[in-house]
Symmetry: C2
Subunit: 127 residues, 2 copies
């Protein structure tokens, strides 16, 4: 079965979305991610969408849902790597991704998580 | 055009392969990766194959080529996240991935890179 891999980076989890999202894949991702957050006690989730050329309302809703679920489990979610064209299209479509925090790239997202999630000073240090 | 994203993590680059490789995508990845290594002066490349259920001789050759190219550019390559079934099939097929170093997951791969690439004590610290 097709799955989107979730990589652990210290106290953060990294998800790179490269394939077209469909209902079932999105459900699997949500289940996998929530399990991994509880298993690893992760404080943050980074979702890289740098290879997505289109972010429609469906993807927007999935991202928002993931952010809400993670928050309940005490993990911050940051969407990183959005292409400039995607940002333009989103605004033109009237989608503003409310409730989703973004950063330019993984490193900036990680720095933002470190600054806001509190805890250790360097999120990457192994426990 | 379809591309596999390359994420920068401190002095390392991370590539997550999720889609079926074909000639053109592999060529693009090799070009992108070698450019990124020179641009970022990365000392290591992590290739996550945790979502691949099959690694055939074609993928094996691509991974070996990437490892060789990176080495010439002074970057170590480590393949991480191989599924147990993939390891079994590889050996049964007589493919032993010679010249490719592996680690169980991204964190262990990162630790191995840090130990071997030398330089800073914590590869993740921002420059």
């Amino acid at each position: 079965m097709e799955r989107i891999p979730i990589l652990q980076m210290g106290e953060f989890l990294l998800v790179t979305i490269q394939v077209d999202m469909h209902d079932r894949l999105a459900m699997t991702l949500q289940e996998d991610l929530t399990s991994r957050i509880t298993d690893t006690q992760a404080h943050g989730v980074l979702i890289d969408i740098s290879s997505l050329e289109i972010v429609d309302s469906f993807i927007g809703r999935i991202l928002a849902n993931i952010a809400k679920m993670s928050r309940i489990l005490d993990a911050q979610t940051i969407v990183v790597g959005m292409q400039p064209a995607v940002a333009i299209t989103l605004v033109e479509l009237g989608l503003s991704l409310t409730g989703i925090r973004t950063a330019l790239n993984v490193e900036k997202g990680m720095a933002l998580l470190r600054a806001t999630a509190g805890g250790s000073t360097n999120g990457y240090t192994q426990p």
